[in-house]
Symmetry: D2
Subunit: 386 residues, 4 copies
């Protein structure tokens, strides 16, 4: 669980993530959640107007709202109160050049995946990061789940024996939506443009998540792959479906399947690792559980709040049985309270919404009173006075 | 999904929630998540030293770190930049006096449940809140879940017909832990002290959550209750187990069960509402789903990302298939990146941790290259150069 | 698993279960499954024509097809090759008189539940069965599930500690179907006639199953009940909804809920027993699993094929991982083969149905060949010659 | 549901299935369940003594208990009351010669899978079966499940659109048990002997089940395969692990995985078929459900008792909500009653077992009485007189 710490908040900048960008907003929420960062600068868009408007919308100092990331790197590096780190949430092809510019300026990098759009570009970037001795975090988000951490720790501790088989899959169906199958999408969306997204479509977008997760938990990468890429979508310039067989140096086998044309799948990232003693199963859509089954035995459903392992504990904020959405649910009430406060301040009449209020509290107390009265009468019916 | 907004951040104070307090930390994370609040003042403890240390740990201005909530209300109300709202996360018996002090000072209130420790106290507080026309949010957190909102909207829209039966339960087992069954816990923990927790134990602590959730979704409160309270724990001064039968004005029936002695239960809050056309089922431990089954038909598993209803959408931050823990997982990577940056800044050698880095990115690109090469060879084995 | 035995098949008679009767057909399948009985006589209906036709349909000797159960008891008792046992599958009000007639004739009884339509009648019947020293099996079918047996054995062995709480429910929705809500059904169906079904509706029909199951597993019956019956159905003369609170002599508490108006429920019989060490959960719709969760721990999903307990093993016919429907699926193929054989014998042309045939076998062998050829080519694409 | 029929019972013989053989006992139970067959002859073993003892154990006429299947075919064909059909449950290498002998004798065949141990042998057998116009049922048992039938019917009706992707897997872990990893097992068990089991190990044993199921539901077989076989087990002469990529003539893709070394898996046969409109998922360990998810939509859990399709209905014996194990549970009570009857007949004292009896019936009636009394007292506590 979170404990209080007096470490200073780091100053954070962001490149990409202007209005309407999903992943930028997620990065900002993540940066705020544990209060370790303060967002103070951004090149939220390369279009000056959109950059300025987006910066204003999130309360950035206009003097630190840039549209050119190179200028941002240069000027932030020069300021006494310049950013400590930059979060990069641009289209894929910009990851490497933007990261390089900030590394050159001595600034730590938190970068969305994939790292780059070619291996050569990625290797050069890695060399630069190491040379400059800067932190370079790549947001393979699934590595942040408590039960993924626990699974990794179990494999590392030998709890499942020697790894024999890895089965990983990541299936979505959004690309099969009619709107995304049309010519317009295929011609204009950057995800389908090899120059901006790289030569890998589904493979780069989600296949690499599956690949990272498998390696993260299994503690090893394959030594050989055999693969077939496919595009079901007419006019598609990159793959939308990937099937891979895996061989590992220790003799283990594996399969990886990833698709964005898998009808009915939302975000079905699933990993199974079979060892000589036990197997593990993790499903990202139910991330608070990890299934462990010993050879010849029955499955145990480990949960985030109940496992005692340090790895899972370190990634946990809330107690046993509370799924992590608990914080978001709390946040939603706070957001609604803020909206009502703003409305009141603006002179609007109190509105009856879904936000629980003092009156709900009174109803609850009325229930408590009636329950106690009924109980004292050896369980008899008691009316709830309205 | 979150859209950018330029509304000013509200200034927030907090009473309670000093170092070690679980729910205070959750409230602070929730307040930060959507960037609607800035925490600027607090009476985090009534013990001056602990209050000051706790305030320092979270970076509050020492001038606004109080130990007396009355003083805090008075002085904050007097400041030009005083708090707009206060979050109250104290033991139950302080909810009403603290809330009253801030309402009297014209400050909006966000208060943990239960509202008060007696009905009379609660009714007085409600009257005050209404008289002062201040927002009073009571954090019945389960009302913040997207699928709870959707369930409520479905009932309100008549989608399940007339409500015929409500089954709600909230079961935990933490009180049955040996440490909590001992004499020390029973004598000293404020939850077991009727003077500080109120006369209701499990009933007030979690039974009221179940009661609120049932009413929130069903759109109606019972007109009669019949109840039995029980304490399995020796020396327990309040209940640890509650069974209630419910009757509603429209003829519906219901049952409520709540226990903190339910062996093996983490935080098992479950609601089922049966209408004349369909039934709904929600399980807080799997909050991204809502099960709907029509009379005589098959169950459909509605998910947060797939339902189109406005109520669920408004409470949603991230896309289909991503459980809300997604943000926490992201935040965990940010937190680890911050830790590594602090370490680097302090001259520590780069540490190999679980945080995905630029090298993981290179591995991913190597995988992409090998997959494409294999595919171009009509699916043949390709080695991954190390 | 079933082992071969040379014990003679018992001769079985049946009262009730004429054409169209669901439970009679189930009893006959059950009697055949393990080859312990041979059905040789029956009073399948009290209407002579229907009795004769039903007996002919299942191949009974016409001389042993009765319409009067008294006559059947008398004549079967007099035959050298008379029945050893009778299966009683009539409406409830006939259970006791029919059973009495056969007990008086010295014949063992297998009787559907409930035993009788009044306590006095049931007590008299029990006294008679004991006096005559005949086996009297009451088909509370849920007592026959392997995992129910295992649960019972675990409780008896002290594996869950002292039982603290019993939660049992049995919910269906068939009565809420429009056809069953009409006046015709309410006036004419024997289930709604207190004279034929007894004074208990849902309570007697399925509530007693829930009650038996709870006692069977928990190893104790309650000492006190507090109950509310309800009829949601207009014109209903017996209950269709039951809520009961339970108190046990050892201080345990419990709740029982049963309803035939629970929208969306098929046959939702669920039992949870909470002990001081662990809890158990069984769901009849997923009968191959038993969930066990220790205090403060994680749930384990015990399965029929994996638990080593003698009680479950004795009730098991097939191996680990094969749900018991496996036999039915096999039987379905046998049934289809029989239909095709009859058709062939009758000179009908071979029909292409769903029954797998020799040609499917060839397809399978073709697949094996192609797989081996591909593998020998270091995993290369191989065509399946049609 | 089963309806009564007066069609004559077919006379059935069996080859293989002597004492201790699992699959033979399953075939016999399946043949009995629907009362379509009468087992009258058998060559249950090729060892004369074991054949005779096994035949006696199941009550066969000694004159029709053979040890040579050729003699059995010849003599049964010559009898006026000879068998209509033979069930073949021998080791794989005997399937084809035994089946041929009976086909030559004009007898219908019900044969366990795989059809034969080589493609050439299987093709010859198919030619013979067609030439002789005999029914040849191959017991791919999974084709007998109601929800598999329903899935197949949905695909055939176009309900899921064009099939785009097939994912099928069949994983077990029994071979990884220590006892099965030893040299003795590898050298002596016929499953590991290519001469008796054929060249395919796991591939032939369960891989072909997966292959058949996929084709049965998808309505098409692949046109190309790419495969890797593997043996994790030291000394293993056939594969114990299979990975296959599939290509279909219509452009669909697929993957098949089968393993008997998949730690923790009991009998995990799972099929997913993704079409352009919807996807289907079936899991043999939960055979009463079929999951259907439309493109972009939410999953619906179709159940055996609730789908109205003719295909599922035809394969269904019992009502909505009762898993098929219901019959086995009933049968278990019948078996226990038989055991008690035999004991009584032998003069043994009545034993207190788990079989519900008349006394349980009295307890149930006592409960009903108490519930009604409590209800009449407006829900008050009523003691259960012991």
């Amino acid at each position: 669980m979170t404990t209080m710490t007096s470490q200073r908040r780091l100053k954070l900048g962001m490149v990409g993530g202007g209005d309407g960008a999903f992943i930028g907003a997620v990065h900002r929420m993540a940066a705020r959640l544990d209060d370790c960062y303060e967002l103070v600068a951004g090149a939220l868009s390369s279009q000056p107007e959109r950059a300025a408007a987006s910066a204003a919308a999130i309360g950035l100092d206009p003097a630190r709202a840039y549209s050119d990331y190179r200028e941002m790197a240069r000027r932030e590096a020069a300021r006494a109160d310049g950013i400590d780190a930059v979060a990069i949430v641009t289209p894929n092809y910009l990851h490497a050049p933007v990261a390089s510019a900030f590394l050159e300026a001595g600034i730590h990098v938190i970068c969305d995946k994939p790292l780059a759009i070619s291996l050569a570009e990625g290797e050069a970037l890695a060399a630069l990061a190491h040379a400059r001795n800067r932190v370079f975090a790549l947001t393979h988000v699934y590595a942040g789940y408590p039960m993924v951490r626990h699974a990794r720790a179990m494999v590392a501790a030998g709890d499942i024996g020697e790894v024999r088989l890895v089965q990983v899959e990541y299936a979505q169906d959004w690309l099969a939506e009619a709107a995304n199958q049309g010519r317009d999408y295929q011609e204009n969306n950057w995800h389908n443009d090899p120059l901006r997204a790289g030569p890998a479509g589904c493979l780069g977008d989600i296949g690499t998540h599956a690949y990272h997760l498998a390696g993260f938990v299994a503690g090893m990468l394959p030594s050989q792959v055999l693969a077939e890429l496919h595009a079901f979508t007419p006019g598609r310039r990159v793959d939308d479906h990937v099937q891979v067989m895996l061989r590992y140096a220790n003799g283990a086998r594996g399969m990886l399947w990833s698709s964005q044309m898998a009808t009915g799948c939302e975000n079905a990232l699933k990993l199974r690792v079979f060892g000589s003693k036990a197997s593990l199963a993790f499903d990202q859509e139910n991330p608070n559980a990890l299934w462990v089954t010993p050879q010849g035995g029955c499955a145990e459903r480990l949960t985030r709040g109940r496992v005692r392992g340090a790895a899972a504990q370190a990634a946990t904020r809330i107690p046993s049985g509370h799924p992590e959405g608990f914080i978001e649910a709390f946040a939603h009430l706070y957001r609604e309270a803020a909206a009502q406060i703003h409305a009141r301040e603006a002179g609007a009449a109190p509105e009856a919404g879904a936000l629980p209020t003092v009156d709900d509290g009174v109803d609850g107390l009325r229930f408590i009173d009636a329950v106690i009265e009924s109980h004292r009468g050896d369980a008899r019916w008691v009316s709830l006075a309205g």
